[in-house]
Symmetry: C2
Subunit: 814 residues, 2 copies
């Protein structure tokens, strides 16, 4: 660590005086040879000003470094967030706006504004009855939220500059929608009544644009990328539909008792619904009862449309999806690499253009992760610096994103949490530990769970007379709960809370047991609304699936998929929201009991009293419940439409009460959900096939017990190193509080009496890690290609000058 | 072609005198070193007998060669059919049986017997009304068919030998089923009435065992191989179902108006049906109308079961399927290679152990493809012999299966069929040819088709009052038909019938146009039952899909998939058949109009007259049509169950008229079709993804115009060669008729005056060809592995002795 105080940065940034000039020139310098070097040199000792003495030189140098650290941190952040570099702040004013707009408080505000705007539709007419608000209240709330959005947009404008701002498509769309909503909200406030506001369907844009909704944005992009081939096949589907509609009309319209094919329009609608199978076999029945051979028409149609073209659709989307996933991974990877390149250039000094010293790295980290403790900053540096050289080379630095998420912990000297306890206590706990780790204990518990399962089944079966909440708690409930409670306590004491809760399965056991206890309490105290907790008891049975490897794999994959599934679900909800708004604007209150008498589905909307014998029974069709009367009902209705079965009853009901153009809404919704659902299927297929290929390729089960906890890095810290680092840190940032953690390391060494400590950094394995391993060879190619295209000529010539390497001959390059 | 008359075969087979000894010893010879060589030598000049003179020696030699040719042909046939070698005939008696049982007449008989047995159920009670036969008639027919099967089995026993016969599982199952059916048929004949014959469900076994149903057998095997992972996931599905059933029972049974969850059994059945979505949202409605939050239960259940686990099922099957496909391809490939190895050993002579001469190859082909003309035999030899060496090496011979299916044709000297016509005529035809090949003509036709499409649509839309057959033929029909007719004629004359019909699209155009003409004729002559031909007219519109590359690809893939899809369809029909028989035995005539009044689905079976105003309308539920009253109705009912929508109405109807154990039948059927359907989806997915990967990997569209016709081989035949070959053939088989084709070659040469002719061998590209290219690298590994394991030591040492190659050092081998 032979770091001197007057290292001069290779590149300078954001100089207050002539920032515009500088950044331009720096860029130019990047392009042509060693030009940047001279400019940099000029910048360090600014000519317009008093002649520099050593002190001011040093202070300005320090300031330049701080600037560089900050810009490097921003580059790395942009790499992490996949922000394009053309939005990189170019001057101090932009920087201030950038910093303002890039912290969790601001993100949170963005998110809350977006959510508030969407939630408003709960209270706007047609509102959920219990949440109805007066017009001036919700319109004022809306205006408030819109002002917030406008404020956020202003910050963005300040940061991006006008030119970049209007080039950024998403932001422009957002601005337009904002203006529209603004005008509409004011109109509502003035008229004191809501008009037909279909544009509310555009509100999700504010949510989607949030930083935290990046996954949703990616999903949307992926959906749009999969669209072209999807639409092609869809056209094929519709084409066959029209041909068969004409055939069906010709064949079946002479049969007057067949309502499905009596006009060409009905014929097309019937066959559209038939693709979803929702009206099968009813649609066939009138024709079939007339002539048995007419079933051939329907069998051929379904075979072509449902069993062939629909699967084709899946195949095409699956294939596109695969390609898009890989391309996305590639571009993310290369973007990160490029960010690291940029940051590296800002961190190297004129004296040592090949490496980043600990001092510079620490400066970077203070900006990149302000909350990170000094110990962890140092350990991260150690983890990067695999070669043990005094500097980080660019190759070391490329691993930045792999180590940045590690959680550091000292390697335990002992294995168990109770190692430090007195001998007798130790023996007891050791016994418990051995017990809970034994196979016998495990299998006993499986048997208990299985018996419990059978018990619950039999018990429920016996209850056939009808379940009643007020009944006494069965003794079996208490017995099994006691057993589970004892198990949890034993495991907790035997393994220690930390080890216990680090396993997802244990967490699951624990929470189910706690829920069961809560259920017992609700039963004991007669708290009616929480009774449902009691019935969660059978979830214990899920533990049985730990026994078999395949199930463990499946469930683990399920948990791994969960974040991505959640974002896909959110994407679906955003589509739902837009459709719900449109549905509410047009179809609110159109269906009600005993409506739709002119349609073929009148039965499903009927609600009449029928007298059977001497009892009067309410004969309910219930479908009037599937309405668009408020946003929650709309969501449920849309979910039913997504499931597709009997969706035409809802469609026909609404159509009979409005115009037959309403069908367009339902059919569009069907096609949109079909796209999203196909993407979801393709995604699940892809994720599983990927995992299975992965474990086949690496000839190992994906989760061997050793690295079940994910990625592990190791760093050994010696006493001298720790002391030297502490000195360095004291010099660079004298604030004492941030150094506590590093002093803690020294204290721990003193306590254990050893001259070095080993720290382990862990993080869970992500899809990206798996992809890295899967595409190993391709990644090398991508990197090679990338460096051919992107390595700036300047760096290269600089490096070469420094090391006296002759420029590569053309032959060697090829 | 320095073939001498007294080449001695390296291995001898099926010697009449001591065949058992020989075949055993030959095998032993294969195992231990060059031993086979000596034994062979001993065999050739049999010691017990008169001292051999040259003539008898020569005759016996000739006979030995013929034997070898035949056995080699059988080996190659076994390789082609994927018959295991342990069923290879071992002695002349077995050979006779083998030959008897391996020709198309026998196969046809097998197939017909199988079909007859299955078709019988059309006539057995409950029969299709118009096909009903008396008991003694159909029982006698059945006995007849069973005797045929028994005869076939006897032939197989003779060929395989008792020991192999009882080891062959499929044959043993067939025998048992045969015995059972025999006894039952006799019982039926004696009692003169059919008893409960569920065992008829086993009849498809006779069909599946046919040689021609190999694809179905492979499908079945693949289905069974995909079962274990499928069942695992199915258990997961059922497990969640039971858990949710308990929860549902606890939550919803207090609601007395909810018939879906009032007992645990109903709860499980409701949730089973819900996985198929068939009762959604009805199953939710009673609970939903009571408490709006109960929808959460159903949404969570459907999300887990339908959207997650069902997709998981597809993923697992897709993955297994991929693996199975590859393994199948590998084993087929290696089996063929092994067959070629065996055949090669039989064809080489003691004098030349490294190669097969034309004479031997021709001898083989006379057995392998008796109908092949001498010209084609020679051309096949030329195609194999790429190096132009006097012999085929083993490596040449490995390509045997690639060239055997080629259809040979002399390369046309001219391009068009009308090249030989007089000049004026030639010019006219040339003009037509240029016209039909021009883009303008093509696009004009597309426009015509599109206009026709719009016309038909508008015309049909105008007809909204109802379609009537007796109406006059619209003039547009005649106009468009004339245009299409002219187009077909122009293309036929311009391209020549051969070129015209070689394109699938042209064939399609042609047949649609012919159908349209037939339609016109039926209209003109008022033939009512054939009216449906008229409405096939819109199929013309399919031609529009030629415009875009993706559609061409999709439709081509569709045609390529067709054989495989057909075999999958047949597999499905076999499952249908078994289920139909079981259904008929138990549920025939249980549902009828106005039955099932005790069930919740009584409405669907109702058939009553309703008086609305002053009109009496028949209010029909129609579901009584979905019955098991005869095998055709059963098939339609089972198809409806396959489509799944509303299947529970059929299930509940039947259940209410029988016992609730009937549900087991319907649920089992659902699971079985789910397996088959998932396999079909996986197959389509696989086929398309494979094709797309293929074209990506080879950076070319799959069907570039050049090799649209598939695989092409070229062979040039010079005059001298042809003459020499003719001489050789005359010597080996003096029958003149078979030489005509070779003499034809010489005649063609004389006519054209050239000293050589080029022949092109074509065949369509199969999936196996694509796989060969896809797995190129892996195939090399498989081969290497295979030869390490299988190359008999004897061959190697023999070869080495012959060529004086030192045995490879261990280092070189590794």
């Amino acid at each position: 660590m032979e770091d001197t105080d007057d290292d001069v940065p290779l590149i300078l940034t954001w100089d207050d005086a002539n920032s515009g000039l500088l950044s331009e020139e720096t860029e130019r310098g990047d392009e042509n040879g060693g030009g940047g070097y001279d400019i940099v040199n000029n910048q360090v000792i600014p000519t317009p000003g008093p002649p520099p003495n050593y002190r001011s030189h040093n202070a300005s140098l320090q300031q330049s470094w701080e600037m560089n650290y900050q810009e490097a941190a921003i580059y790395l952040q942009e790499g992490e967030n996949n922000d394009k570099f053309f939005t990189h702040p170019r001057n101090p004013k932009a920087l201030a706006a950038y910093l303002f707009a890039h912290n969790h408080l601001f993100y949170m505000m963005e998110l809350l504004t977006g959510v508030l705007l969407m939630v408003l539709s709960l209270c706007e007419a047609p509102a959920v009855p219990s949440l109805r608000l007066d017009v001036y209240v919700h319109a004022t709330l809306e205006l408030l939220a819109l002002v917030m959005v406008a404020f956020e947009l202003c910050m963005k404008l300040r940061w991006l500059g006008f030119h970049t701002f209007i080039r950024h498509k998403r932001t422009m769309v957002k601005t337009c929608v904002l203006l529209l909503q603004f005008v509409e909200a004011i109109v509502v406030l003035i008229r004191q009544t809501s008009h037909l506001r279909v544009t509310r369907a555009l509100r999700p844009i504010f949510l989607v644009d949030c930083r935290y909704c990046g996954a949703v944005r990616r999903n949307l992009r992926q959906i749009f990328q999969s669209l072209p081939p999807f639409i092609d096949i869809l056209l094929l589907l519709l084409f066959f539909m029209v041909i068969f509609a004409i055939l069906g009309f010709c064949l079946f319209s002479p049969n007057t008792s067949d309502p499905y094919f009596n006009t060409l329009e009905n014929s097309i609608v019937s066959l559209f619904v038939l693709v979803t199978t929702a009206n099968f076999p009813d649609v066939m029945m009138p024709a079939y009862s007339r002539n048995r051979w007419s079933c051939v028409f329907f069998i051929v149609y379904l075979s072509i449309e449902l069993y062939f073209i629909m699967n084709l659709l899946l195949a095409v989307v699956f294939d596109t999806f695969n390609g898009v996933e890989k391309m996305k991974f590639k571009s993310l990877l290369l973007h990160k690499r490029s960010a690291i390149d940029h940051a590296f250039q800002l961190l190297v000094s004129r004296q040592r253009p090949m490496g980043v010293s600990l001092k510079q790295f620490d400066g970077l980290m203070r900006f990149y992760r302000p909350r990170m403790s000094s110990r962890d900053r140092f350990l991260t540096y150690k983890a990067l610096n695999t070669a043990g050289a005094p500097m980080l080379s660019l190759d070391d630095f490329y691993k930045f994103y792999e180590v940045i998420g590690l959680k550091w912990k000292a390697r335990r000297s002992g294995e168990h949490w109770f190692d430090d306890l007195p001998h007798t206590t130790f023996l007891i706990f050791k016994g418990i530990n051995l017990l809970v780790k034994s196979k016998a204990f495990q299998y006993t518990m499986y048997v208990v769970v299985a018996v419990n399962g059978v018990w619950i089944l039999v018990e429920t079966y016996m209850l056939n007379s009808g379940f009643s909440w007020s009944r006494m708690v069965p003794w079996s409930y208490i017995v099994f709960l006691t057993i589970y409670g004892v198990e949890v306590l034993l495991k907790l004491t035997g393994l220690g809370p930390l080890a216990y809760f680090s396993s997802g399965w244990n967490l699951f056991d624990f929470s189910v047991t706690v829920f069961a206890f809560l259920g017992l309490i609700t039963l004991a105290f007669d708290m009616e609304p929480f009774y449902f907790i009691v019935v969660l008891r059978p979830l214990q049975l899920l533990r049985l699936f730990k026994i078999k490897q395949r199930y463990r794999n499946v469930l683990d994959t399920m948990f791994e998929l969960f974040p991505r599934m959640a974002s896909l679900g959110l994407t679906l909800i955003i589509f739902y929201y837009s459709f719900a708004i449109v549905g509410m604007e047009f179809f609110a209150d159109v269906v009600y009991p005993n409506c739709c008498n002119t349609s073929t589905v009148a039965d499903s909307y009927r609600q009449i009293n029928v007298t059977i014998g001497n009892r009067t029974v309410l004969d309910e069709g219930y479908y009037y419940l599937n309405n668009f009367n408020n946003i929650l009902s709309s969501f449920v209705t849309l979910f039913e439409l997504t499931v597709v079965n009997n969706w035409y009853i809802t469609m026909e009901g609404v159509t009979s009460m409005t115009t037959h153009w309403s069908r367009l809404y339902f059919m569009t919704f069907y096609i949109v959900t079909m796209v999203v659902m196909t993407i979801i299927v393709a995604f699940i297929l892809d994720a599983f096939v990927f995992r299975m290929n992965y474990s086949r390729k690496n000839k190992e089960p994906l989760l061997d017990p050793e690295d079940e906890n994910g990625i592990v890095f190791e760093a050994e810290v010696s006493r001298d190193e720790a002391l030297a680092t502490l000195e360095l840190y004291k010099k660079t940032c004298p604030g004492l509080s941030s150094l506590n953690s590093l002093q803690g390391v020294l204290l721990a060494m003193d306590r254990s009496g050893s001259s070095s400590l080993v720290y382990l950094g862990r993080r869970s394995r992500t899809k990206s890690d798996l992809s890295m391993k899967m595409y190993e060879e391709e990644i090398q190619e991508w990197y090679a290609e990338y460096s051919r295209e992107n390595l700036p000529q300047s760096d290269r010539s600089l490096v070469e000058r420094e090391l006296d390497i002759p420029p590569p001959c053309p032959e060697r390059e090829s």
